[in-house]
Assembly symmetry: C2
């Protein structure tokens, strides 16, 4: 199907089961820190996989909450929409990251998750995850870390939205992407944006025109090479300097 490897251990069933134990994302995902036997237990829990085409919803705000999702391939955005139509992108998620944690609190999802490209997720029924994590300490702990990481990430976004200027926000955004691509074995300096300027703007609390202008400015200053959605970071320290060298606010 995708970046799968042929399973060395023959699967018991006929279908090519893409097990956690065989997944190259396991270091970034829920199985992190589990021993092989525990990973197998987790495997049994991952009920199914689901393909989501570009622009389609994985879940919508208001949907009953039943499972969380680990991204196997592709990428997503999450957003919240107000009655008056305003919307805010709350995050962009890539492979190995977990979606749906917002739904636990009220038994209903509180945001929309939309695929930015054709994608695939592992469906993790939440009741069973809680059950297993009562038995497997390391799974429990890893799950708590993942939730906590989301909270810390959100605080970073608040910082960004609350007290940075446009170019700082974009620099922070690019550096964050770069770091996450690196963690996945891709180039730190060259990547393809899966989201539009408008979506970046929504995430960063800016208008798309402002995002575009900031990109142009970075390009003029030799910090990045921008060609539509293709980004090449030329001067990482320079971008970091933009982040810190501001006495304002």
């Amino acid at each position: 199907m995708r970046v799968q490897m042929k399973s060395a251990v023959p699967a018991t069933t006929m279908e090519i089961k893409t097990a956690c134990s065989q997944c190259n994302l396991r270091e970034l995902c829920l199985p992190f820190g589990l021993d092989p036997r525990e990973v197998d237990q987790l495997d049994e829990l991952v009920g199914s996989r689901r393909k989501i085409k570009r622009q389609q919803h994985l879940y919508r705000s208001g949907d009953p909450f039943e499972a969380i999702y680990a991204i196997r391939a592709g990428s997503f955005k999450t957003d919240v929409i107000l009655e008056d139509g305003r919307d805010q992108v709350t995050g962009f998620q890539m492979t190995g990251e977990v979606l749906g944690l917002d739904g636990i609190s009220s038994e209903h999802h509180s945001c929309n998750a939309i695929a930015l490209e054709d994608s695939e997720v592992c469906v993790i029924p939440f009741g069973r995850l809680e059950e297993l994590s009562r038995q497997v300490e390391s799974l429990q702990h890893q799950f708590h870390k993942i939730m906590s990481r989301e909270i810390v990430r959100d605080h970073g976004v608040m910082m960004l939205l609350g007290s940075m200027r446009a170019e700082e926000r974009l620099a922070a955004f690019l550096l964050n992407l770069s770091q996450r691509f690196t963690a996945r074995g891709f180039s730190p300096s060259e990547f393809h944006l899966r989201m539009t300027r408008d979506e970046i703007g929504s995430y960063l609390g800016l208008k798309l025109e402002t995002v575009s202008r900031a990109f142009s400015r970075f390009q003029e200053e030799g910090l990045v090479a921008v060609q539509q959605k293709h980004i090449r970071i030329l001067d990482t320290p320079g971008l970091k300097r933009i982040l810190n060298h501001h006495a304002s606010n």
Copy 2:
């Protein structure tokens, strides 16, 4: 000793142990949904209580993470500080709310928690909480809900920071406070702010002058009566209207 009740059930030890089972905040806090026997188990886990004087830190960014904290009395703010000195208030917490969840992900706290008034917290050693929540399903679930609620709250703040104008932000802030005071048995319409204009501004991504002007505007329009930190909400529907009736972004 504060809003405590004399325990009807005599404590086994001499000291006045303010147990979860006797706490009037239990419906808002970690014990929610537990049966009496389970609450007793949780009780044993709550190692100690800690008093924090106004302006003092409960924990600081970088401190090793060992416990989470439930607020028994008083209130707190959390903030993150950048190297260049800029800071952002990420939340205001009141009784029954839980502090410290940010620390789980990296074993170190990633923000500061500072008392806004003389306060008291219940110290909940995290290792033991995980242990007990492997045994007590309802505790596990309630804890997950609390973490998830924090994520949902953060998304709301992102919405606020990313796509609302100054007066909308302040209206949302006041309505949120009102609702939380109500849940604690206080007046929905009359309360005392424990934070300064500057802190409100930091939280809302505004300067203190802008916060002050927005308060004045609300007062002119008869929505609230403001006298320094004392707030009386006169027209709740009016405040809600401010929130929704904006086509901008």
